[in-house]
């Protein structure tokens, strides 16, 4: 193979990078609308899953319209901020703001059993990337009706197990309050006792993800403290 001069190598790499960059940004721009629509459907699907309504990508929008009755945005005191679409609030971006300026979205839904529940989005940092989910609370604003979690890149077979039904089902019926005191849900390594109302089993081999999930729950839910205490019945 013949030797190339340094100038040639520089020009070659520059041209290559420009071509590749153009190609990729073109693809990203063209596919963007389709991708964000998928994400929107996925968000609706997850929310429905947290209230125990199985949905797939075809019927998610329809079921969402049927079950999720209203949505609103709170400030950190639990007062409603009018005029903001709760669905379009990105929790990750809100968490970067100071607490006083954060928008806290709440969704209110009516599952088939007739009890009004609220859905709160949660988001945090896992071991390798973001983890997020939805927590639905019964009308006492303490008992968990259902949860759904997901993650971007937790370790398959270990931390990635947080999005399985086996893990999520353990949260049902647990309480985030003890009287008026906010406790949240502990994810307990080595397993919890069955009668512990504030704890679930951690995932073996997924300790860091389990801890991250516990932190995410207490961190996100306590922001709603004022609202939850005032609206319990």
């Amino acid at each position: 193979m013949k030797q190339f001069s340094n100038t040639y190598i520089f020009i070659f790499s520059t041209v290559m990078v420009i071509i590749v960059a153009t190609l990729l940004s073109l693809a990203a721009t063209l596919l963007q609308p389709l991708q964000s629509r998928n994400l929107e459907i996925e968000k609706k699907r997850s929310m429905l899953e947290s209230i125990g309504v199985p949905a797939d990508k075809r019927d998610a929008e329809e079921l969402y319209a049927k079950y999720v009755k209203e949505s609103f945005v709170l400030d950190h005191n639990g007062e409603e901020i009018p005029g903001i679409d709760a669905f379009s609030v990105v929790v990750r971006n809100e968490q970067k703001k100071p607490l006083e300026k954060q928008y806290l979205p709440v969704f209110s839904a009516l599952p088939d059993d007739g009890e009004k529940v609220i859905i709160i989005p949660v988001e945090g940092k896992g071991l390798w990337g973001p983890i997020w989910g939805y927590v639905s609370l019964r009308s006492d604003m303490s008992t968990i009706y259902g949860v759904t979690f997901d993650h971007k890149s937790e370790t398959p077979g270990l931390g990635a197990e947080i999005n399985t039904a086996d893990f999520e089902d353990m949260f049902r019926g647990k309480r985030i309050y003890d009287g008026d005191k906010f406790i949240s849900i502990g994810v307990i390594k080595g397993g919890t006792t069955p009668d512990n109302p504030h704890g679930v089993d951690a995932i073996s081999g997924g300790t860091i993800t389990s801890k991250a999930l516990e932190e995410m729950l207490s961190d996100c839910l306590i922001r709603y403290d004022g609202f939850l205490l005032r609206n319990r019945n």
Binding site: I9, V17, L23, A27, L31, E42, K152, S153
Partner: protein, 217 residues
């Protein structure tokens, strides 16, 4: 070189490029490459199929690109150029999956990105495409991608059938009435070690049928 007689497109030698990796020179069972992703995404048939198609696409196209540019690519940065080509194609695949096959892209998660590090692709570019014409490189890429995909699909077939009792999410075992006579799914099949064992069994069958693959000691 330019005066050489033109080979027919599908000469015996060229067809061999395509078929050898499917059998005698399979990248997984004979060269034992690409095992990592073979273990990870073979729990269900559908992601395995999508992964196979993605790898075939990436390896075939990158082989052609590298082979077409082989005389222009400066030797000193050839690995970087190969990586740039592979990485761009993988990002394209990832974007397209996110737009058109969102569920599958969620299941494959990080493994689409990890196609970049699949040693089969780098190996074929460095070992074959850098020294051959685009058409030959294309066939070689296609063959190796398909050889990889073939094993992936076979492994996924057994793991999904025995582990979840379904095929392409269709409940085969239930429809056959297997559960009513006491059959149960084997949870072990879902775990990664069983993929290794299934690959091992395939290698065993492969070698017992083709004695020339067995090393002489």
């Amino acid at each position: 070189m330019s005066k050489r007689e033109r080979e027919p497109l599908f000469s015996t030698k060229n067809v061999k490029l395509l078929t050898e990796p499917l059998g005698r020179n399979n990248p997984i069972t004979v060269q034992v490459l690409g095992i990592c992703s073979a273990l990870a995404i073979t729990v269900k048939l559908k992601p395995a199929l999508v992964m196979a198609v993605s790898v075939v696409f990436v390896i075939a196209i990158s082989s052609v690109v590298i082979a077409a540019l082989r005389k222009q690519i400066p030797e000193r940065i050839r690995i970087i150029v190969q990586l740039v080509v592979i990485a761009s194609l993988v990002i394209l695949v990832d974007q397209v999956l996110k737009a058109y096959a969102f569920d599958v892209s969620k299941q494959l998660s990080v493994f689409v990105g990890l196609i970049i590090t699949n040693c089969i692709i780098m190996g074929r570019l460095e070992g074959f495409a850098m020294a051959n014409r685009p058409w030959k490189a294309f066939l070689d890429g296609l063959g190796n991608g398909a050889g990889y995909g073939l094993i992936l699909v076979i492994v996924a077939f057994f793991r999904e059938l025995l582990g979840s009792g379904t095929l392409m999410d269709y409940p085969v075992m239930e429809k056959l009435g297997a559960y009513s006579i006491g059959y149960e799914d084997n949870g072990m099949m879902i775990l990664p070690p069983m993929a290794l064992i299934v690959v091992g069994l395939i290698i065993w069958v492969h070698r017992s049928r083709d004695k020339s693959l067995v090393e002489k000691h």
